[in-house]
């Protein structure tokens, strides 16, 4: 007698939830079915790779388990000789048309194709024939495309279209000539790509990668005439904790500082400091807009993918973008401007490296300057490995360097969706009412991973309407009323990637929604542990206003901390 909602997989009774696929039910039961294209968290299955074929009793044809809906009483075999033979043959076919330069590949030991081949015991290249031969696309500062390593699983296309709603890349040509790329065989730099890098996170091979700057940073570190300094974004320690077993975001941050200094960085700063500064400027701008009549709503400008999106797709929204630079750029501007006054550089050149969860930051840095190199979370790992450093074993808590060493809990929240909003509300309340936000500063409405969050708050007699967009793919319900002039929102936070920076395109390959949820919890925890909850009370921030900037939106701020935008649609025509 079998249970309700249960099927038999390889002889084991497995429970499923109605509507679930066999692939998913099997995975939960600890039976892994190899697959190279399905991503159930992101999009509906395309059944393209054909690796997840299983035998279903009563059906003559093999079935793809990624599309096969689990039904009561099904009998599925995932490792029958027939299935294994077909799977193995498919991998052999993929390998036959793959460069196979595994020893020198950036995904060495981290490649899903190699892993599947190994699991299936493929130990020989049986099929030999012509391999595809496409040029590398090195055109953009952020992403590298190597179509020769592409196995055409379609994950990048699905993420770009269905998750991000961008559609910069798609399949081109057909049959064996098929490849993935931007339109008109152009480089990705002149496409409508926003460089969010989500495609690089889901690519099973090294066909889509961030453009690595590890070598450049290593060279700078080796240069006796350079002082290399780092800034670390809040999402980075929240992510690195996954492998390094740290107890809190702060301790991870300080351990990372230790590691970086051991490698040769001259100073390590906290991008969270710049987040606090951003809040001072951005909230002041919001208040000014609310009080002087717009343009409203105002959008956040921290997420460079979102900026690219506006510039390329919706330049009509440029007046709605906050003119504040992102924290990365504010920090770098100050590092380049202020830091030499704090420390005698001895005539050496100052090299500014930022450690970010994001590929689009590389583009932002190349366009706005100040930042010399951007390393993504994945590249940080690579850099430390070069120096033989295992973060697991770096337990000593280092120090961050003045004058950009501190961040409020609000600044830490910047790393996740809703975080900028929550930080802004805390400071807006103080600026508008003179008193701090009641209830322990927590803005419950801004928290969580829903795609769209809209809420209103009464701040000192003024009702302000807020919107939070978690991932570009969810923009539509916010932008549609705006285009029709029917939006009553005042302030909208947009983060390009699902989950915010913690789900960024430069984050570890195997990040899934559960990882992102945990990282967000870690940021909330960092805020909870922080005694300093609000940006406006950050002593270093106050100091820099007192000594140099004067007041938010002042003359010097305008030059150092604000920026302008370009209508890139017009640029192309």
């Amino acid at each position: 007698m079998s249970l309700v909602n249960s099927l038999s997989i390889d002889g084991k009774e497995v429970q499923f939830t109605p509507g679930e696929t066999v692939l998913s039910a099997a995975s939960r039961a600890g039976i892994e079915i190899p697959h190279l294209c399905a991503m159930d968290w992101a999009c509906k299955p395309e059944a393209a790779c054909r690796m997840c074929l299983v035998e279903l009793e009563g059906m003559p044809r093999l079935q793809t388990s990624c599309t096969l809906e689990a039904k009561d009483g099904q009998k599925v075999r995932t490792r029958s000789p027939r299935v294994q033979a077909v799977r193995r043959n498919i991998v052999e076919l993929l390998i036959a048309n793959h460069p196979g330069d595994c020893l020198t590949c950036a995904r060495n030991q981290n490649c899903e194709l190699a892993q599947v081949a190994s699991e299936l015991g493929v130990r020989e290249r049986r099929y030999r024939g012509l391999k595809k031969n496409h040029a590398l696309d090195l055109s953009s500062p952020a992403l590298v495309r190597d179509p020769n390593k592409c196995i055409l699983c379609g994950r990048c296309v699905a993420v770009c279209h269905q998750v991000q709603g961008v559609g910069a890349i798609d399949f081109i040509d057909r049959g064996i000539k098929t490849r993935v790329g931007p339109g008109f065989h152009d480089g990705i730099n002149v496409s409508n790509c926003i460089f969010c890098g989500q495609c690089t996170r889901v690519c099973p091979t090294a066909a889509l990668m961030e453009k690595s700057q590890v070598d450049a940073v290593v060279a700078a570190l080796a240069d006796p005439n350079a002082i290399v300094v780092a800034q670390i974004a809040p999402a980075v320690p929240a992510t690195l904790m996954e492998n390094a077993q740290a107890s809190s975001v702060r301790s991870m941050l300080l351990r990372l500082a230790t590691a970086l200094k051991r490698v040769g960085f001259g100073a390590v700063f906290d991008t969270g400091f710049a987040a606090d500064l951003t809040i001072m400027e951005e909230v002041s701008e919001l208040i000014r807009r609310v009080q002087t009549g717009g343009p409203l709503p105002m959008f956040t400008s921290c997420s460079p993918g979102w900026i690219q999106y506006v510039e390329k797709y919706r330049p009509d929204l440029i007046p709605h973008l906050s003119t504040c630079k992102s924290p990365q750029q504010m920090a770098a501007a100050l590092i380049k401007d202020v830091y030499p006054k704090h420390r005698d550089l001895g005539g050496k050149r100052l090299v500014c490296v930022s450690l970010m969860p994001c590929t689009a930051k590389k583009v932002e840095a190349s366009e706005l300057g100040d930042v010399d190199f951007v390393l993504t979370t994945r590249e940080i790992d690579e850099l430390l490995v070069r120096y033989g450093i295992d973060l697991n074993k770096v337990t000593e808590l280092g120090t961050l360097d003045a004058p950009f060493s501190s961040a409020s809990g609000a600044g830490r929240l910047f790393g996740g969706t809703g975080g900028v909003m929550e930080a802004a509300i805390r400071t807006a309340h103080k600026m508008l009412t003179g008193s701090e936000l009641a209830g322990g500063f927590k803005v419950e409405e801004a928290r969580g991973l829903e795609g769209i969050k809209c809420f209103s708050l009464d701040v000192g007699g003024t009702t302000l309407n807020f919107g939070i967009v978690n991932g570009l793919g969810r923009l539509k319900p916010i932008l549609d009323p705006l285009s029709k002039g029917a939006s009553n929102l005042h302030f909208i936070e947009v983060m390009t990637c699902p989950g915010g920076c913690i789900g960024g395109g430069g984050q570890p390959y195997d990040s899934d929604p559960e990882d992102i949820r945990v990282r967000l919890e870690r940021l909330y925890d960092a805020d909870r542990r922080s005694t300093l909850k609000v940006s406006h009370d950050n002593a270093e921030v106050q100091e820099i206003y007192a000594e140099m900037l004067g007041k938010p939106l002042g003359e010097i701020s305008h030059h150092l901390l604000h920026r302008s935008y370009v209508d890139r649609r017009a640029e192309e025509t």
């Binding site: 793809t64 033979a85 076919l93 399949f171 049959g175 098929t178």
Partner: protein, 670 residues
């Protein structure tokens, strides 16, 4: 565009108006008027009908002017006929009709003089049209050398001339789908109406429930004629029972198999029949919108369909409230951009939606969630063209058309090395031998039948010993072939079966959409292996080894591609290899082991030799050889090193004394 004379009101008591269509419209044409009683009106209607049925008044000259006719020069012939009539001041009307199906004897020109039967003249071209016209119109010799047969009964005076359907090519055929092809003017609604078009649609829409229509088609045993053979009524019932406000019907006219031209002939020769079938199908499933997905390479079909749809709209046979039934339906033509895979049903959906023509996994099946996510039925042209017959004459009639347990008829496109090429419509379940020998006339004179390739590129090759197989879905699949859309390419001993497999594999490789791994990569590797077999491994030892290794992999690859691919194209992509391996393994072995092609078709395996007696030693062949395979000194006889020869034949062309020739198969074996 000609306005419909038939549908025009007979007098002002006639209630039918295009804006207010009448339930009895179609019946009224033949039996009318129904809404009022008037002998004069009845007479008017009968005269109009008789005129439409005949195709016009006075002397009529019908010219087969489908795409095949045009390829045989029909446009110039028609112009010449027009000029001839003018020169001789003869009053006659030229009617362009579709294709009668007998390609081997194109062009067909029919002449119908008042009071005489319609006579068909065959093998007409621009060179002999004047002879025919002079015989028929100047010398009044209706019985001349071009005469092929007569259409219909001509009475005792014409009994000596065979009725066209009693001639060898036609007598074993059963014309259902093609019954009007080449006979009725496909350009004019009146001609179609006179031939009985839209009677079935009127019956279905006005007197039957959608459920009854579905069940009638189900009972008739009609199966999809596009190849897969899914029961049509069952598909309709699924869509009918899926409750959605918007549903779609798609006519799949993306005929892409090499050697298949059945649907083209139907669309060009009888577009109204297809539209009627769509109307009935749409009514049965509750679709208000239909698409005809027609390949852009069929411009004449698109032209005829466009005109037919417009004419139907004008008289209220398409549009809102068709025949006063409150049922509304309209059709849009969508032209495919030339991708073979767009004949696959889910790829058609993607293409119509404006996306890339790539199949998607099923379920959900289109009948549940298809075009734009709405229930959608896709039927092939021929399937839809069968529907009016089922509704008109009943399920039992249709069921009995087939032989054995099979139902209905199937159109096959017979081509290749056979005496009578053309379109043949035969009962489903007929033996292959009957089609090839009785209708097709067997192999060409002096040659021997070797195999028939059936089912298009994804089908299989069936050898002589299996010709008693019946043409039914299951039977053909057992032989590794498939019914497919109906292409039948006959091959004789001059055809190399390895080369055939290679040719079809190249086609599939080029047409694979590239989405799923086995089809995209597997067909490429199979093609590489097949190509290597048809060439001599000139050069390094490794290539020689790879050639052997490849052969060992061929069967495994074909099976994997068949088993693991996403759509029908991939799932049958292994068939050309598997079926030729099954029946012609010896030919593969000759290629691989002996490096010889028994049919001599694989140039890369050809063996040449120099006739020492006549060779001048001029060195020209040696210079022309691209692979350095010729040795010999000036003024001495030359030799060809077979191991180095790539079989290109450059030396043959270069030799001034014609001393180099192909070594015959028999001698090369020794």
């Amino acid at each position: 565009m000609q306005a419909s004379n038939l549908i025009a009101a007979c007098c002002n008591r006639c209630t039918h108006r295009p804006g207010n269509p009448c339930r009895d419209l179609v019946r009224c044409l033949a039996e009318g008027p129904i809404c009022h009683s008037d002998d004069a009106c009845a007479k008017t209607r009968q005269e109009r009908m008789a005129n439409a049925r005949r195709g016009g008044q006075g002397t009529l000259i019908f010219v087969g002017a489908g795409t095949c006719g045009r390829a045989n020069g029909s446009t110039k012939v028609i112009a010449r006929i027009g000029a001839f009539l003018q020169e001789h001041k003869i009053s006659a009307e030229i009617v362009e009709v579709g294709c009668v199906g007998y390609c081997q004897r194109e062009l067909f020109v029919d002449v119908q003089k008042p009071g005489e039967p319609r006579l068909a003249y065959a093998d007409i071209n621009l060179g002999n049209i004047d002879q025919l016209l002079e015989a028929v119109f100047v010398r009044e010799e209706m019985r001349n050398g071009f005469l092929y047969g007569r259409h219909g009964d001509g009475g005792a005076a014409w009994a000596d001339i065979p009725e066209i359907n009693t001639t060898d090519f036609f007598k074993k055929q059963v014309k259902v789908v093609l019954r009007n092809a080449g006979i009725v003017d496909p350009r004019i609604l009146d001609a179609a109406l006179a031939a009985g078009a839209f009677a079935a649609a009127a019956k279905a829409v006005c007197t039957m429930t959608p459920e009854e229509v579905c069940n009638e088609v189900l009972a008739a045993g009609l199966r999809g004629r596009g190849g897969a053979g899914f029961p049509t009524g069952q598909k309709w019932n699924i869509a009918r029972q899926t409750p959605r406000a918007q549903k779609y019907l798609i006519c799949n006219a993306d005929e892409g198999d090499p050697g298949a031209f059945m649907d083209r002939a139907v669309l060009e020769s009888d577009p109204f029949f297809v539209i009627e079938g769509m109307l009935i199908a749409a009514y049965a499933i509750g679709a208000s919108k239909g698409y005809i997905y027609c390949r852009a390479e069929y411009p004449l079909a698109v032209e005829r369909l466009t005109s037919a749809i417009e004419q139907c709209r004008r008289v209220g046979l398409l549009g809102t409230n068709i025949l006063g039934s409150l049922f509304s339906f309209d059709i849009t033509i969508k032209q495919g951009a030339g991708a073979f895979v767009c004949g696959e049903e889910t790829a058609i959906l993607a293409s119509i939606e404006g996306g890339r023509g790539m199949p998607r996994p099923r379920p959900p099946y289109p009948a549940v969630s298809g075009l734009f996510g709405k229930p959608t039925v896709l039927n092939n042209v021929e399937t839809l063209a069968n529907v009016p017959v089922i509704i008109n004459r009943g399920a039992e009639y249709f069921q009995n058309l087939g032989l054995g347990k099979a139902a209905g008829t199937k159109v096959f496109a017979l081509s290749g090395a056979i005496r009578n090429t053309g379109l043949v419509e035969v009962p489903v379940g007929i033996k292959l031998r009957t089609i090839i020998y009785d209708i097709g006339g067997g192999a060409l004179p002096g040659h021997k039948f070797k195999a028939v390739q059936i089912g298009g590129p994804s089908g299989g090759c069936i050898p002589e010993q299996h010709l008693d197989t019946v043409t039914d879905y299951a039977d053909l699949i057992q032989l590794g072939a498939m019914m497919g859309s109906g292409g039948m390419v006959v091959m004789d001993e001059r055809t190399c079966m390895v080369d055939v497999a290679r040719y079809f594999m190249e086609f599939i490789r080029n047409e694979s959409c590239g989405k799923c791994t086995p089809c995209r990569e597997g067909t490429t590797r199979m093609l590489e292996i097949l190509t290597s077999i048809t060439e001599r491994p000139v050069g390094d030892e490794e290539r020689r080894l790879e050639r052997f290794r490849g052969v060992l992999h061929l069967q495994e690859l074909a099976s994997t591609v068949k088993e693991a691919s996403l759509c029908g194209l991939g799932q049958s992509a292994g068939n050309p290899v598997l079926s030729t391996l099954r029946f012609f393994r010896d030919e593969y072995e000759r290629h691989v082991i002996d490096q010889r092609c028994p049919s001599g078709e694989c140039q890369g395996l050809a063996v040449y030799e120099v006739d020492n007696a006549t060779c001048l030693g001029c060195l020209l062949c040696k210079k022309a050889c691209p692979s350095g395979a010729i040795v010999g000194e000036r003024k001495q006889a030359h030799y060809i090193l077979v191991d180095k020869c790539v079989g290109c034949g450059s030396c043959v062309t270069a030799c001034p004394k014609h001393s180099i020739h192909l070594v015959s198969e028999e001698r090369a074996c020794v």
